[in-house]
Symmetry: D2
Subunit: 291 residues, 4 copies
């Protein structure tokens, strides 16, 4: 199987490297050239441009947002270059609207389309231990399964409409943001009464909430350590907005998401957009007159 | 050390039993007599009334709410019966206002007061594996430590003002409610787009949110199994209200708690007050036109 | 008809004066003596204490809040001093719970009880132009009607349960707070895009929202003129809390009220509790990074 | 002055007719032909298409939403057909993003652009009594002033950036929605305690809230009369979303708007999208278990 890979950022590069390690023949493209050279050193072939994937059976892409997907995959010719019967494996976190539009346009073009956004940060991607949220037609999922197995510890299936995987990804990110906001409000409550926010979070994340999401963000909140940003607050705002847009499309009131969007905007307005999105907890503290 | 124990409900009875097993000499009282007899059979002495604890060094109480604490401990004479130097170990989940009032009145009376609400349900209490959230003066905490060790797996200290432990307990219950609401909204989003709510929750609670709180309530939401109630929705409403009252006392805006109180009221108005509080998730589903 | 009047504050004093002007024989009591002397100069008799109203046919009271009503009317003996068949006309803004409790205790004592909170500030009270929100039994309402006519421009009837008038008063104050919050958010939106908040409010309150509530508070918001306080923000918080408590008693979700309580707490935490409650609009502005 | 007019719907047609009555020479276009013929009967000239406005000095347009403006003005060639120095007077309620984009593209083309959305419904438009919210460069505003005077009772100026008028229009519509939600929650509170919702609204809109917005929508809520729709709930959702988008662009948290969007979605999910947007009040009632 000949595989293409577009988007060699902090996530895409280790994911592509894991494909090479697993023995796949890889052709890669990236806007900047440095990561391309790194992968060529590992055995990949460099594409001449985003439209140079006519021979691949599967084109994986890991681009940062809707605008980049639009400019590279659609306007840049990546999709158009694919041969009949090829599959585009889109692993980016994108909006429901774009996901639905891409699913339709790929079908019209006679090529497969699988959405497979991932859970996990850079170190998890490097270890090939991502959790992968996949949706698409059964035969397409079967074809890309070996690739997903090389990049992740487990592939979760969420339906035959590709966009369903994107909704699940947005729902999962909403849950992460919600965990941050929850700890932010709870810590502020404890601190306002003279208690230790970090002591509270230590207890919480050692007992009922002993899970990676709470432990990771809880430690940041307890230490008020919001730099360097693992995931910027401005991107957190974007993801919550995407969840709300998906909610609106499905007529789903999401009051927690709405509350968080307002709090993210508050944080942005105070100049905290470049901090880690765990800094959402600063809003609760500031509004309570703490810190 | 002579120990008294008041309140032998579903939680209090196994907690008292664990004290007996650990070798403490116990004198017990309960409004209804059946659990008293069960503990007498284990070796406890039956008190003649709530005011019959003049000889104990520590009086533990595990009563259901503010009104019961007021009627038994204050009006019923339990507190007044204690000798100088005795300690009242109050393990109930009560309001910040009552906690502060009790701390003051015990001090005035010249007796110790430790607040030690617990995390864990009946089976955890039976196993002596509770997490205990304690606050009070150091000497008082030291004196009750052997009792707490017999009832729990770990005692967490949250300050020298007893009410601080109550705030932490309310903050923890707020986090639990928030986890329920979060999964309710996220599931509704996934389902509105044709996905499987239970598949989503299965994934979520196996990965980033693999913690008891999410797994326990996630399973109930996924299966829409809200009876029998482990903890009634009407009690969940009460605890969120207590968290909001503590927030108001400390001038802490808690928009998640406010949102949930409205949703709990919605559930109550639809007649769901006797379901498990995980049925808060029904509100998100119904508002989205699902099920 | 012999009339008593308790509570000669900024509202009560002009209301009592209007009763004297209308020819009623008045006996008055107030915690501080200065306003008593002013009314004696107008022809009133001074009571010896809050319990010195045995001969009156109607006892009107205009006290500031639940605690004062409790301490003067209940604990202070005013209610107990009334003769069989007398009517207590309670014009204070109090909680639903206290209103219900007073209605029950008066009935038990064999005396009438009418709740008649008012709309209007001091200048309106002086002019005898209050709008009066009344509830109680028909015969009681009929008996106090001449008094209400002397104090207000119109009496609105809201049911035969006295507490219903209190609920209407809380609902009306909720609407006022909501108008403030609405203008605060809308002004922030306009200003954030370089527009004039005051120009916007000028237009708004000259057209679709040309009503006293919007014009009064709109002008304060436009000019950011929050001192001296006509009605303190801390009291606004209290009234919104009372509305929420009434909502909880009736199982009515009130998300606007919940949002405002959080915003009031935010304002309190920033030290704005003594400003006019129109300063709720500062919260929206500050959160948007304005001013 | 030669004037063009595009968009002869329920609002546009009487507005155009008022221009003719005021003596302006009018050339008109509409997607459907019936209103064109009506205006030709009044003396207007029929354009051959949306791109047939090369000779006009001012082209007024009153189209229903972003998509229609895009398809007629941009894609349909209306804007492109204008001669150098002409002015496009866009009176539609559109998004901030489209407003900014149109301002930029008109400037680039060397033609003027004035945004002038209106307040008022059909009968107000017919009477030439609209309130017009205008923004743009001073010379452009001066040139279109006679047209605006013929269509409205007053023109309010909101800055030299055309989009500022659109923000003001979105802010005003947000205030209307907020008035509906406020009355909905307050009525539910009163009714839940056995009071009369209509009696409450009658009092409210006769006193503190005696303004057109409250009286108009208050009557509909009191009578639960949501058909025929003067303005559909689905369009209300759209306008609140546009306000939120403008808020996000300006980093303005708008918790009331967020709450309303969720409530609008609730109403949509229950099938009430075609009712008048005053039916937002049904959500508060239903959530409280009323009606």
């Amino acid at each position: 199987m000949k595989v293409g890979f577009i988007g060699l950022g902090t996530m895409g590069k280790p994911m592509a490297a894991n494909l090479i390690k697993a023995g796949f023949s890889l052709k890669v493209w990236n806007r900047s050239q440095a990561p391309v050279q790194d992968l060529v050193a590992l055995g990949a072939e460099a594409a001449k441009g985003p439209g140079d994937f006519a021979e691949v059976d599967v084109l994986a892409s890991m681009l940062s947002d809707d605008a980049t997907v639009q400019s590279v995959v659609v306007d840049g010719g990546a999709q158009a270059s694919l041969k009949a019967g090829a599959i585009h494996l889109n692993m980016a976190t994108i909006s429901l609207a774009l996901a639905q539009s891409l699913a339709a346009s790929h079908q019209q073009q006679g090529i497969g389309y699988v959405a497979a956004p991932v859970l996990g940060r850079v170190n998890v991607a490097e270890a090939g231990m991502l959790n992968i949220l996949a949706a698409g037609q059964g035969e397409h999922l079967a074809k890309v399964a070996p690739l997903l197995d090389a990049m992740g510890q487990k592939t979760w299936h969420f339906g035959d409409q590709p966009a369903q995987a994107n909704v699940v990804k947005l729902a999962a990110n909403f849950c992460l943001a919600s965990a941050i906001e929850t700890m932010g409000e709870a810590s502020a409550l404890v601190q306002a009464h003279g208690g230790s926010g970090s002591g509270f979070i230590q207890m919480l994340t050692s007992t009922l909430f002993a899970a990676p999401a709470y432990q990771n963000y809880g430690a940041m909140i307890a230490e008020q350590r919001y730099q360097p940003a693992g995931f910027k607050l401005s991107l957190g705002l974007k993801d919550v907005r995407l969840a709300l847009e998906a909610g609106e499309a499905g007529q789903v009131p999401m009051p927690f998401a709405s509350t968080m969007k307002d709090n993210f905007l508050d944080a942005m307005a105070q100049g905290d957009g470049d901090l880690d999105w765990a800094a959402l907890a600063k809003v609760a503290a500031r509004r309570a007159g703490l810190g």
